[in-house]
């Protein structure tokens, strides 16, 4: 893996689509994204994934409504947002596990609409799951071998002729053992995956995804339920993916993690992208703060505003409408905007 590259060469490579995978220097994407304005739907210098007008509704609920989103190639893009913001739904849409109501999205300029999950995976977009899907009653090594692509022995008839797949199986096993050593799971290779701890399963799932030599890795809450020591090693592995030229998109709630590894952060709330920018820009973004904490979380209400809010609330109660925090919050926002 050519991890060492001169920054100049790296920057040049960032403009050349084909070159990125070969030469993948550190923080290339960060450099490329330096001059990108911090606006929602902004165009990136070298997008791997482009999402256009994707909406997904469940009954009356709009889970995802993304007008335009580009994901920079070779960078780590963090996807954050409060619970129910539509992050996992967006993941499902991008990987074919769910189909949108409207919209198009493409990977490397190739449209991904209407593709089944396995077809998306074969293009090089692999994902992990929020609830880890280790294959419990397979050994760790078997879990890994499943990740390899283009296996001849996975066809029914060729499976009966070991000569056609034995060589490939051996090469895959070597590759799997290399990855397991990297993830410090090699001692467990013959254990059932179901006996691993939660953190080890996260590691296994990530290692298994890497067996397929992906171009894009989508990690759904990779750090959830992982103890702090293991978090550090997981973080290291995610950074390694970037070093190897992969595009990483991950959902995460821990802001320290997001700040630490992301080149770019996309914030979703109520199905929409409400902000994007480098991690340091996000915590100062008013829309993000409002989304997480509600507008007015740190400013005292004036007497008039308080009266208005009270009057509105009472009117709502009188009308027997359901008055939740969101309804109230958006009303306040409207009032102060005047």
């Amino acid at each position: 893996m050519p991890a060492e590259n001169t920054p100049a060469g790296a920057h040049a490579a960032s403009l050349d689509k084909g070159g990125v995978h070969r030469a993948a220097p550190q923080r290339l994407a960060q450099a490329a994204l330096r001059d990108v304005p911090w606006e929602v739907g902004v165009a990136k210098p070298d997008p791997a994934i482009v999402v256009d007008g994707v909406t997904r509704t469940f009954g009356g609920l709009t889970a995802v409504a993304v007008d335009h989103l580009e994901v920079q190639r070779g960078g780590i893009t963090g996807l954050i947002g409060p619970n129910g913001a539509g992050k996992t739904t967006l993941f499902n849409l991008l990987t074919g596990f769910d189909q949108p109501n409207t919209g198009t999205w493409s990977f490397d300029g190739r449209p991904l609409g209407k593709l089944a999950p396995h077809q998306v995976a074969r293009l090089g977009v692999v994902r992990t799951f929020q609830l880890t899907k280790a294959l419990s009653r397979l050994t760790v090594l078997q879990n890994m071998l499943l990740g390899a692509q283009g296996q001849r022995g996975e066809s029914f008839l060729r499976a009966l002729v070991p000569g056609t797949w034995k060589g490939q199986e051996k090469a895959n096993t070597d590759k799997a053992m290399d990855l397991l050593r990297r993830f410090k799971l090699d001692a467990k290779k013959d254990e059932f995956a179901g006996t691993l701890s939660g953190g080890q399963r996260k590691l296994l799932e990530m290692a298994r995804a890497l067996m397929s030599d992906p171009k894009v890795v989508m990690l759904d809450e990779p750090m959830a339920g992982v103890n702090p020591a293991l978090t550090q090693s997981l973080l290291g592995h995610v950074k390694d993916l970037r070093e190897e030229g992969m595009t990483v998109i991950f959902v995460e709630h821990d802001m320290d993690v997001v700040r630490d590894i992301s080149d770019w952060v996309v914030v979703m709330a109520a199905g929409r992208v409400i902000a994007e920018g480098p991690p340091e820009s996000i915590s100062q973004n008013q829309a993000v703060v409002d989304a997480y904490l509600g507008a007015h979380h740190d400013a005292p209400l004036t007497v008039e505003e308080e009266d208005q809010v009270l009057a509105e609330a009472e009117a709502q109660i009188a009308a027997e409408e359901h008055g939740g925090g969101e309804v109230l919050g958006s009303d306040v926002h409207k009032e102060t905007g005047r």
Partner: protein, 332 residues
């Protein structure tokens, strides 16, 4: 003591006879579907019915050669598997279970219905279609032979020999498949379909292949049964047989190559031994007539098997061949 040895010999014959082969092939098919791929096929007997009647109708009604009948039966099983799989395999596992259990009952009722009588001969069924097969026996089929303390007719013996060869071939096939990457994908689907999809495997195709393969094995089982009894009657193919095959599979150990075979032998052995043993005890007055009469024996033996299965699940949930660690793992 002599009686006991006789009872054991009779039970051993049952454990090695065509009925055990029938259940073994059914259970091997279920093992591929349920044990390895996690598909709930609760209508395996429907495939056996098509296998048996494939031969019976082809030979008796259409006058075709026996081997064409075999091909017809297998083709019918493949078609049924595809018909069942196409709508249900994209859905959750329970939909296949519902569809198969309904199909098994539906097909049996269809085959015994009045409107089907011109083809299937209704409730009386078809017979005299196995002549071509029995005549292939290398020994005289109308004589009786004494083997392991019981007498076998030449025809019975021939069916059993060919049947066990089929079982061995089926086991070799399953063994070869399950050690290959194909089998690994199948086992992974049992664990978690979405994870397998996310790794670029077309889960639907693998499930369909497993359903068809299991269906073909079930059809072979039905053929052995039809040839063994020399007749094909729709009511022989009650769906209870599917669940007896499941019992055999769990007894032997699911997702093990030899599990369904050994399970079937033991199941049939126990059923027959309980039968002859209980009758013996009643005849000798050891069990008083007031407690249990010989007419109840046929039912009570299934109760004994049920109790045995319960004890097995408590003390050895993995079956005879299973790996306890594997079974004790949480499914997810």
């Amino acid at each position: 003591m002599g009686d006991l040895i006789d009872a054991l010999a009779v039970a051993l014959k049952a454990g090695l006879g065509f009925q055990a082969i029938f259940f073994a092939l059914l259970a091997i098919g279920i093992n591929v579907q349920f044990g390895y791929a996690g598909l709930l096929n609760f209508g395996q007997i429907a495939f056996a019915l098509l296998g048996g009647f494939g031969i019976a109708i082809s030979v008796s009604q259409w006058g075709l050669p026996f081997w064409v009948g075999v091909v017809v039966g297998l083709a019918a099983a493949v078609v049924l598997a595809l018909l069942l799989g196409l709508p249900t395999l994209r859905l959750r596992a329970d939909y296949l279970a519902i569809a198969t259990i309904a199909t098994a009952e539906g097909l049996r009722l269809l085959f015994r219905s009045v409107s089907a009588t011109p083809v299937t001969n209704g409730t009386r069924g078809l017979s005299s279609f196995n002549g071509d097969f029995i005549s292939l026996a290398p020994w005289a089929t109308n004589e009786r032979y004494r083997i392991l303390g019981t007498s076998w007719s030449g025809g019975e013996l021939w069916v059993a020999v060919v049947g066990w060869v089929l079982v061995i071939l089926a086991c070799l096939l399953v063994w070869a498949l399950m050690r290959s990457p194909w089998g690994r994908v199948l086992k992974s689907i049992r664990e978690d379909e979405d994870a397998v999809r996310a790794l670029g495997k077309n889960v639907y195709v693998y499930k369909m292949q497993a359903l068809v393969l299991g269906g073909i094995l079930g059809a072979l089982g039905g053929m052995v049964y039809a040839v063994g009894t020399g007749s094909a009657v729709p009511d022989q193919y009650q769906n209870a047989n599917t669940f007896l095959a499941y019992a055999a599979l769990i007894l032997g150990g699911a997702a093990r190559v030899l599990g369904p075979v050994v399970g079937s032998i033991i199941l049939l052995f126990i059923l027959q031994f309980a039968d002859t043993g209980l009758r013996l005890l009643i005849d000798n007055g050891i069990i008083p007539e007031g407690l249990l009469s010989s007419t109840d024996v046929a039912q009570i033996r299934f109760v004994l098997v049920g109790v045995g299965l319960m004890l097995l699940l408590v003390f050895r949930p993995q079956g005879i061949f299973g790996d306890r660690r594997e079974v004790m793992l949480d499914a997810r």
